[in-house]
Amino acid sequence: MNLWRSLLIAIAIGSVTPAWAGLEAFDFSGNVNEDRYKELIAEVRCLVCQNQSLADSDAGLAHDLRMEVYKLMEQGQSDEQIIDFLVSRYGDFVLYQPPVKPSTYLLWYGPFVLLALGLLLLLRTLRQRRAQIQSEPGLSPEEQQRVERLLNESDSGKEERQ
């Protein structure tokens, strides 16, 4: 019984351990909204460990940038202003969602172009196939007669067996 209780407590503690590395203790009682802060740092890439967001990374630079983001929010800057601050220094690469501009058109619209091309190809193939079927010559009178004879035969065969 005691063992079970301690196990349960261990599981309960384990499940509430924050998944964030290197999270600073910020004071969110002022004008900085905690949810807004967390949402923003999760959208920004850490350039040191590139597959981690600013929220996840334990790199020194990520720590500094989280402090910076918090400070900017405290000064009352909007999300756009803070994103601009980061992009003007580190480039579009800091954004997990790249902006739509001429150099990213291929990225954003490429899949739709491919889809359209695929649809066109499908349409063309279907149309060709239909034309092919229609252009095939029908049965000649002799063949027609033979088909009817065969059909009748099998029908009468069935009746005989029954």
């Binding site: 350039l47 040191v48 590139q50 020194g60 630079l61 500094d64 940038l65 910076e68 992009v87 003007s88 220094r89 580190y90 480039g91 579009d92 690469f93």
Partner: protein
Amino acid sequence: MPAFVRYLTPLVLFLALAGLLYKGLNLNPREVPSPLIGKPAPEFSLPGLEEPLTTVSLDDFRGEVTLFNVWATWCSGCRAEHPVLMRLAEAGVRIYGLDYKDDRNDAKRWLLRYGNPYIANAFDESGKVGIDWGVYGTPETFIVDRNGIIRYKHIGPITIDAVNTKIMPLIEQLKEDKG
């Protein structure tokens, strides 16, 4: 559609994709292009490394083509490029340093031990100036022209090859430009 076109199409598509992926294999994802190229260098004013009472600022660069090298004693790549910086300094290149998030005494000892290629070092203890310059990993080196415009950024240790193919030609060219 002729038969050979039909049969060759998959092969051509495969080769195109393979070529694209092969190129991707050789790209270095750590080299993120800086948005600061072609823009005015970010202003800064920091205490000097060797003499904390002096100030090193962007104004010190003005009027001359300057190499601005971001380094730290905890950075192994900086140790690797240090001899190259010494040779650049000997060749008459103006080098300023940004000692980034470092310990002042360690950094002074480093310069005594390995030599000092810098005209002066700005001591960026908090890393704030590093953020303004978009530094995300030392060593990083910027070339700033006479008018204070950033013309080039080298990420990682400077190699002799980079000096010969990019850095020296650019510096020579910028020196000739009478801005």
